[in-house]
Symmetry: C2
Subunit: 238 residues, 2 copies
């Protein structure tokens, strides 16, 4: 236990996160004004503002002077490539998506462990390609706990025009908040090489991602193979 109780602004931050998790405000919605929140939580406006500043830094909300504070949404254009760091060497970021498959399966040990599931719990597997300039550059395989994504199918995926995370948000109420990635260089296995149209054994960037929703609950495990001959993974350190 902490010696001191968490500061008020942190308690308020957590209450707001809980409300977001409960769906009180959906992605894209406007939150009550600072004054209204201050009243609701019985704190001064400055303290509420501090809580909102933290949430802004975490990318959970977005503030627009003159209009209000809004719940972040992956449907916004700005969030399009929030978690996809592969950019073309000339700076281009766009991709076209090609769905390879979507099926129900039982979690492998590795997947269950990553997602915090019991062994062999049902998950949904999605496989797809991302193309740039007509060339496949990313092979993505991802696994989702079925209980959070009931009804996800190839049809649903095919009909949705936007990003996966935008779909998850609007259709399943699962908003991705942050992610951890592990990167490695690997040799292309035969099946992967064929899909990416590269030689077998060609070096690929293997990106494993664990994505979390509100309250730090992992809800997606993903493995991507990036072909980096004229693209690179871009990162900022500070």
């Amino acid at each position: 236990m902490p010696k001191t109780p968490a500061p008020l602004y942190e308690q308020i931050r957590q209450l707001i996160v809980a409300a977001l998790a409960a769906g009180e405000w959906r992605p894209g919605d406007m939150l009550p004004s600072e004054a209204a929140l201050a009243q609701r939580f019985g704190a001064s406006p400055g303290t509420v503002r501090r809580a909102l500043d933290e949430l802004t830094a975490e990318n959970l909300v977005e503030r627009r002077q003159g209009s209000g504070t809004f719940v972040s949404t992956h449907s916004a254009p700005r969030q399009q490539f929030r978690f996809l760091r592969l950019v073309a060497d000339d700076g281009e970021q766009g991709f076209t998506r090609e769905l390879l498959g979507c099926r129900r399966m039982r979690a492998t040990a590795a997947i269950a462990h990553a997602l915090g599931l019991r062994a062999a719990e049902p998950v949904i597997e999605v496989r797809r390609l991302l193309h740039r300039r007509g060339r496949p550059v990313v092979l993505d395989e991802l696994w989702l706990p079925e209980r959070h994504f009931e009804g996800l199918s190839a049809d649903v995926l095919a009909q949705h025009p936007g990003t996966l995370y935008a779909l998850f948000e609007t259709r399943f109420g699962v908003h991705m908040v942050r992610a951890e990635e592990k990167l490695r260089a690997v040799a292309a296995a035969p099946e992967v090489a064929a899909l990416l149209r590269v030689g077998e054994g060609e070096p690929l960037l293997c990106v494993e991602r664990l994505a979390y929703t509100y309250g730090d609950r992992p809800v997606e495990f993903r493995r991507g193979f990036y072909y980096t001959s004229s693209d690179h993974y871009s990162n900022e350190l500070n």
Copy 2:
């Protein structure tokens, strides 16, 4: 030009950065107290605090309740691996360093461009290996503008026990503030493979880094080859 002048806290932030760049306070030094800074800049303590909060978020300073605000330093244990994201799969982070060479040369076009130098300006090249558990896992090659690192030599490098960035800071007054990295998977070239003791053509993670000092001036260009069989590059997205 901005329609509105920058807010006061931002102006103060910039003044403090300028003072850091000028060496008024060196890494590890304590800054004047909030009250003293408020007096110096003719602002209220709250405004100075806001400026210091920004600098804290950028990792330029570090605040310790009860003792003061200090200039960040790469000599601190916490900063040991601030820019090195390669961790062993079991979480270990330590390395041992082996110097391969240090020489003066003229900047290639690529290096000059990255560092903002004129063509063929003199730079210092450093090459080294990082070992983990007795095995080489990183081959680093880096280039520094000679005018900022006059006197850097194999001897100087050999005698310094800590990280390169700690050395740059204490010996040359160059503090690294942030960096941009570009990652790719590549096949090991013969010379690289020999040094890392892997097969030729083995997939390696190629990490290009441009590191900046105060005022966003690039002062180091680096290329690393990471062997990622039981290590991975770890990244956080939000």
